[in-house]
Amino acid sequence: MSKVTTMRDAVAELVRDGDTVAIEGFTHLICFAAGHEIIRQRRRDLTLARMTPDVIYDQMVGAGVARKLIFSWLGNPGVGSLHAVRRRVEQADPEPLELEEYSHFGMVCRYMAAAANLPFFPIRSYYESDIPRVNPKIVPMRSPYEDGTEVYVVPPLRPDVAIVHAQRADAEGNAQIWGLLGCQKEAAFAAERVIVVCEELVEEATIRKDPNRTLIPGVIVDAVVEEPFACHPSFAQGYYDRDNAFYLAWDRIARDPETLQGWLDEWVYGLANHAEYVQKWGDAHWERLRPEPAPSGEVDYGRYR
């Protein structure tokens, strides 16, 4: 059954005001195009979950779609701060932003608990840290065995929607990812609804040739969107590089609320969809970001009949 749709329809149908939304991807495969479409459709009161609220969440927070972040590291990686987020947290400008924070492992384990339908997940972290003091969801627990080891537990995080980007997927949503895996799989299995965005929509036969490469199975996927360069300025391993210049530029853009709004007007509200965004950057831009080839080599599954 084909689940192929457009980003506009996927967001319109699956992302609702007030939802908890996770656009995951650890540096790699961050689906900016989905964030832009959520901004464009002017969703409100979202709780945005992500290990590393990145420039995309700064853009979404700046655009006013979010009331809360659930996260473990808040920054513009390799550059500095997320200024729109900081304005709301430090000065309630233009309004407060609720924060619920964990460590990286705590965030991963919250997704893990939800993905595995567990009421809690134990981790050895948070000892002698102030984090549990400011986040009462992180609770100490003792091992019931003789050692009595103390762990902390975190509760399941079940986003209403997870949006994960893959290099390739078939029409049913079987998605294959290589390079950094982040917590895409855990976030997708944790969520009520899943949108898979991909660089290339491929035949089911391509997926079936290498089933061990499938990170996300179609059975949990609600919509499939083919959207090349959807991760820019983040990257897709083997397809395009991280656009570091944009990460640096964002630092300047986001420092001033008016500049930020001007950027949103020009690059999000002023464009109908991601295809126009790709066109606006121009072919030469994408050409510069394209890596040389580095093929994986093949393995043989063997045909048994």
Partner: protein, 262 residues
């Protein structure tokens, strides 16, 4: 293949056909080896064309090119849509409630569909040591529906299990509902004599149809408690010519699981 007066299909074949029809419209199914595997493959070719076969070995969407001889047959891996570690299969698929139907069986079953695959006799000094749970215990808890395929006999349809490996109904539907499990437990038992459902008010196994030529007396003789019988006891639809063709020519051409006496 059949002597005059015989029905033209084996006991295994009617069990397979009756079971496959339980899968109408099902999206995915946890497949076991042997009969359940043939059942699922038959259903995929008849009443459930979109059925995805999920194997406990970690294979999702298998498209086997031959009859798998175990749930870990290499023909299951080649050409599947996804292969996962056992941890992920049990945690993200089964425990998370993504499995619609699973097949279980056992050496003993009681009237509430509880199953024993562990020991006959005392646990510490068993008369017969059986395989144990495998994934059955958690499958019984998490798969949305459990189908059971078992041959009937006094020693296997028992009033009291020697060991409860996998939980079925408790006999108290209010208790069952309060358990909060993703699964609803056993919904159908297909035997070599008939087809059983489970009574909504008591959770008790209830005979809904007899296979052609089988009498209620034979059923009683081959079980350890007085059976509950549905008010309108039917006759199981025999395997169609097409079902028999699929079983004999495509799914088990060697008759490993389906030849008379198998």
């Amino acid at each position: 293949m059949s002597a005059p007066g015989e029905p033209g299909y084996s006991k295994s074949e009617i069990m397979i056909a009756a079971s496959a029809r339980q899968l109408v419209g099902v999206r995915n199914c946890f497949v076991g080896v042997g009969l359940p595997n043939i059942v699922c493959n038959l259903a995929q070719r008849t009443v459930a064309p979109d059925l995805q076969l999920v194997y406990e070995s970690g294979v999702f969407g298998a498209r086997p090119e031959r009859l798998p001889l175990s749930i870990g047959d290499p023909t299951l891996a080649t050409g599947a849509t996804a292969i996962t570690s056992m941890f992920e299969l049990f945690a993200f698929y089964l425990q998370a409630g993504l499995i619609d139907v699973a097949f279980l069986g056992g050496a003993q079953i009681d009237r509430f569909g509880n199953l024993n695959t562990t020991v006959i006799g005392d646990y510490a000094r068993p008369t017969v040591r059986l395989p144990g749970s495998g994934g059955a215990c958690e499958i019984a808890i998490h798969a949305r529906r459990i189908l059971v395929i078992m041959r009937q006999a006094k020693r296997s349809f028992v009033d009291r299990l020697d060991f409860r490996t996998s939980p079925g109904h408790s006999g108290d539907p209010a208790h069952d509902a309060a358990r909060g499990w993703t699964g609803t437990g056993p919904t159908c038992v297909v035997t070599d004599l008939g087809v059983w459902g489970f009574d909504a008010d008591t959770g008790e196994m209830t005979l809904t149809s007899l296979h052609p030529g089988v009498t209620l007396e034979q059923v009683r003789e081959n079980m350890g408690w007085e059976p509950r019988v549905a008010p309108e006891l039917g006759t199981t639809e025999p395997p169609t010519a097409e079902e028999l063709r699929l079983i004999r020519e495509e799914l088990d051409p060697g008759g490993i699981y389906t030849k008379p006496g198998a």
